[in-house]
C-alpha cells in the first residue's frame, strides 16, 4: 500500500505586511511553516501505514510543490514518519492556484500510482480548500472532502465527514481514493531529536516540470484565476472599548442589557 501525502509550506504573515508590487507580499514579511492541516493528513497516513502488515510493504510518500522553503516542511514530514519525499519546483509555479497545483500533483500521482492520496482540507494561507478535490477530479478518483475520522478495511475505507449544521455523515468507498483531512482527526506526533536526525538519511528528491512531462506554460494556463492585486482590509468597524478589565466588563454588561432589553 502506497500513500501519497500532498503537503504545503504555508506563508505566515508578519505583524506589518509590506508589498512587492500589486499582487505580491514582500518576502521579508513572511515566515514559512508546514500547513497545520497537512500535519494531520501526514499523521493519518503514517498511522494507516503502521496499521499495515510489514509484508504489505506500506510506504508513505510526501510531496510538495514549492521552492526551497518547502524542503523544511518535507524534512518535518520525514521526521514524522514519511518514508521518502518529493519536491517539485519551477519558477513558473510561483503563486500557483489550486488548479495549477492539482495539474502538477496529478503528474506526480501518475508516476507514483498510490493506493491512497491524502491532502489537507485547506491551507492556512490561500485557504481555497480546493487542491485535493481538483486533484481527485483530474485523476478521476473517488474522494471524500473534509474528513474527520477514517477506518481502513483492506481495500475499503470508511470516512466520516462533517456537514453544514453539525451533522456527521459516514461514507464507505473503495481504494484507490483521495481524502482531504480536517484538523482534529488526530494529534500529530512531535518527532524526537533522534527521529529528526534519522530522517536526514531518508530520500528527498527534487523534480522539475520536464521530468514529469509537464510544461511550465501549460501548467500556468491550467490556473483557474489570476491575482490582480492584494489589499489590506479596511480597518475593522469595531468601536474599541478601552480602560481596565472592570471598565470593559461594565460596558459589555451595559451593551448586553440594552440589546436584550432586560
Amino acid at each position: 500500500m502506497r500513500i501519497l501525502v500532498a503537503v504545503k509550506q504555508v506563508a505566515k504573515l508578519a505583524e506589518h505586511v509590506t508589498f512587492d508590487g500589486p499582487a505580491r507580499v514582500s518576502p521579508a514579511a513572511v515566515s514559512w511553516q508546514l500547513n497545520e492541516w497537512d500535519r494531520s493528513s501526514l499523521e493519518t497516513a503514517v498511522r494507516l501505514a503502521e496499521g499495515c502488515e510489514a509484508s504489505a510493504g506500506a510506504e508513505v510518500v510526501a510531496v510538495s510543490v514549492g521552492d526551497e522553503h518547502a524542503e523544511q516542511g518535507l524534512r518535518a514530514c520525514l521526521a514524522a514518519g514519511a518514508d521518502r519525499a518529493l519536491r517539485v519546483w519551477d519558477e513558473q509555479l510561483e503563486d500557483a492556484d489550486p488548479l495549477a497545483l492539482a495539474t502538477v500533483l496529478a503528474a506526480v500521482a501518475r508516476e507514483e500510482r498510490p493506493d491512497l492520496i491524502l491532502c489537507g482540507a485547506q491551507s492556512s494561507d490561500a485557504a481555497h480548500a480546493a487542491t485535493g478535490v481538483a486533484l481527485a477530479g483530474l485523476l478521476d478518483l473517488a474522494r471524500v472532502a473534509v474528513v474527520g475520522a477514517i477506518e481502513r478495511d483492506n481495500a475499503r475505507l470508511t470516512a466520516q465527514r462533517e456537514l453544514d449544521g453539525g451533522a456527521l455523515e459516514v461514507l464507505r468507498l473503495s481504494l484507490p481514493a483521495l481524502l482531504t483531512i480536517q484538523t482534529g482527526i488526530n494529534e500529530p506526533r512531535h518527532p524526537t531529536l533522534r527521529e529528526i536526525k534519522q530522517a536526514r538519511a531518508r530520500p528527498l528528491a527534487t523534480l522539475g516540470l520536464a521530468e514529469l512531462g509537464l510544461d511550465g506554460g501549460a501548467v500556468r494556463a491550467a490556473a483557474g484565476s489570476r491575482t490582480l492585486r492584494l489589499l489590506s482590509p479596511e480597518p475593522g468597524g469595531a468601536l474599541m472599548l478601552d480602560g481596565s478589565a472592570s471598565a470593559i466588563a461594565e460596558r459589555i454588561a451595559e451593551i448586553v442589557r440594552t440589546r436584550v432589553g432586560a
Binding site: D125, R161, L163, R172, R226, A249
Partner: protein, 321 residues
C-alpha cells in the same frame, strides 16, 4: 457563454438559505450585464423545491432529476458538468459549503473553467467577472480575474451576500435537464448522525457567550459555562474547541457548525478565522475580547476590547452576580 447559473443546494429540509444568497449575488451580476439568471436544482425532489427559488430576477429554473435521495459528491459532479456543458453559462455560483467542497473544484479542474472559492465579493465588468476573497487568515483581500475563461465557477462564502427572498417572482420558466446520474455515486452512505439531541440549539439563542482558543485549557470550560448562565446566555464555541473535544459539536459556530443570529454575540478569545466568521454574520451585535490587537474578529465585531479574557470574564461575573 452568457448568463449566470446559480446551483441551489437542497438539504434535508428543502432549499438551503445559502442558496438565496447565491440568487441575490446572481441577480446583481445579471443586472451588471452578465446575462440572464437561472437557478439549477439537482435532486430527487428538485421539482418540488422550484417555488422556493422563484425569486425576482430569476428567468429560468432548471431541474436535474436525480435517482439519489441525498447529496453524493460524485453524482453532484456529473450533474454540474452536464449543466455547464449544456447551458454554457458565463458564471456559475455555488455555496462554499461542506457539500460543495467535495465536488466543485473537481468540476473546475476537469472542465478547464475559471475557479475561485470562499469568495466574499463579486462584480461584472468589461473584462468579465471579478472576484474578491479573503486569504492569509482574513488579513488580506485578493482580487482575482479569469482571463480567457468562457465559464467561471465561484464558491461564495455563506453570509457574505444579501439573500433574495423567494416570492414576488413567479415568472420563471421551469425546465428539466436530464443528465444520466444513475450509477455515478462512488461512496455509500452508511450512516448520518444528527448533532446530539437534547443539547442546546445555539441558532435560537438571544445571547451567546462564545469561546475560542484563548481559553487555553479544557479545565476553563465550566467557568465560561457558568458565566454564560449568569448572563442569561448560551455557551457556544469556535471550531478548535469542538475539534479538541472540549465543547460539544452542537455548540460549534461557523462553517460545518451552526449559523447563529443572536441579539448579542460575545466572542471571548476567538481570533476570527474565516470558517468561524461565516457563522456569525447574522448576529445583530458582536462584541469581541481578544488579547491580540490584530485578531480578525475585530474586523467583524461592532465592539472590541484588547484585553485579557480571564480578567474580563472575572469582572463580568461580578457585573452579572
Amino acid at each position: 457563454m452568457s448568463g449566470v447559473l446559480v446551483l441551489g443546494e437542497l438539504g434535508e429540509r428543502g432549499v438551503r438559505s445559502s442558496s438565496l444568497e447565491l440568487i441575490g449575488a446572481g441577480r446583481m451580476l445579471s443586472e451588471q450585464g452578465a446575462g440572464p439568471l437561472s437557478v439549477a436544482l439537482v435532486g430527487q425532489d428538485a421539482e418540488a423545491s422550484a417555488d422556493a427559488v422563484d425569486a425576482p430576477g430569476v428567468r429560468e429554473i432548471v431541474v436535474v432529476p436525480s435517482p439519489y435521495a441525498h447529496f453524493e459528491a460524485h453524482v453532484a459532479q456529473v450533474a454540474l458538468e452536464g449543466l455547464i456543458r449544456v447551458r454554457r453559462p458565463a458564471v456559475v455560483l455555488a455555496a462554499h459549503t461542506s457539500d460543495s467542497l467535495g465536488f466543485v473544484a473537481a468540476v473546475a479542474a476537469r472542465a478547464g473553467v475559471g475557479f475561485a472559492s470562499d469568495v466574499s465579493g463579486v462584480s461584472w465588468g468589461e473584462s468579465g467577472v471579478i472576484a474578491r476573497r479573503r486569504c492569509h487568515g482574513e488579513r488580506l483581500i485578493a482580487e482575482l480575474d479569469f482571463p480567457g475563461r468562457q465559464t467561471v465557477v465561484l464558491l461564495l462564502r455563506t453570509g457574505a451576500f444579501e439573500p433574495l427572498e423567494a416570492g414576488g417572482g413567479g415568472r420563471a420558466a421551469c425546465t428539466r435537464l436530464d443528465v444520466v446520474l444513475e450509477g455515478r455515486a462512488r461512496t455509500e452512505r452508511l450512516e448520518r448522525r444528527e448533532p446530539p439531541a437534547g443539547d442546546v440549539d445555539i441558532a435560537k439563542a438571544d445571547v451567546l457567550v462564545s469561546i475560542g482558543r484563548g481559553v487555553e485549557s479544557a479545565e476553563q470550560i465550566p467557568r465560561f459555562e457558568a458565566l454564560a448562565e449568569r448572563m442569561g446566555a448560551t455557551l457556544s464555541a469556535s471550531g478548535p474547541l469542538v475539534e479538541a473535544g472540549w465543547v460539544s459539536r452542537a455548540r460549534k459556530v461557523g462553517q460545518s457548525g451552526r449559523t447563529v443570529a443572536p441579539r448579542v454575540y460575545l466572542a471571548l478569545g476567538i481570533s476570527g478565522a474565516a470558517q468561524h466568521l461565516a457563522g456569525v454574520s447574522k448576529a445583530k451585535t458582536i462584541i469581541a475580547v481578544n488579547s491580540d490587537p490584530n485578531a480578525r474578529i475585530f474586523d467583524a465585531a461592532h465592539y472590541g476590547a484588547v484585553a485579557d479574557l480571564f480578567e474580563v470574564a472575572a469582572e463580568l461575573e461580578r457585573q452579572f452576580g
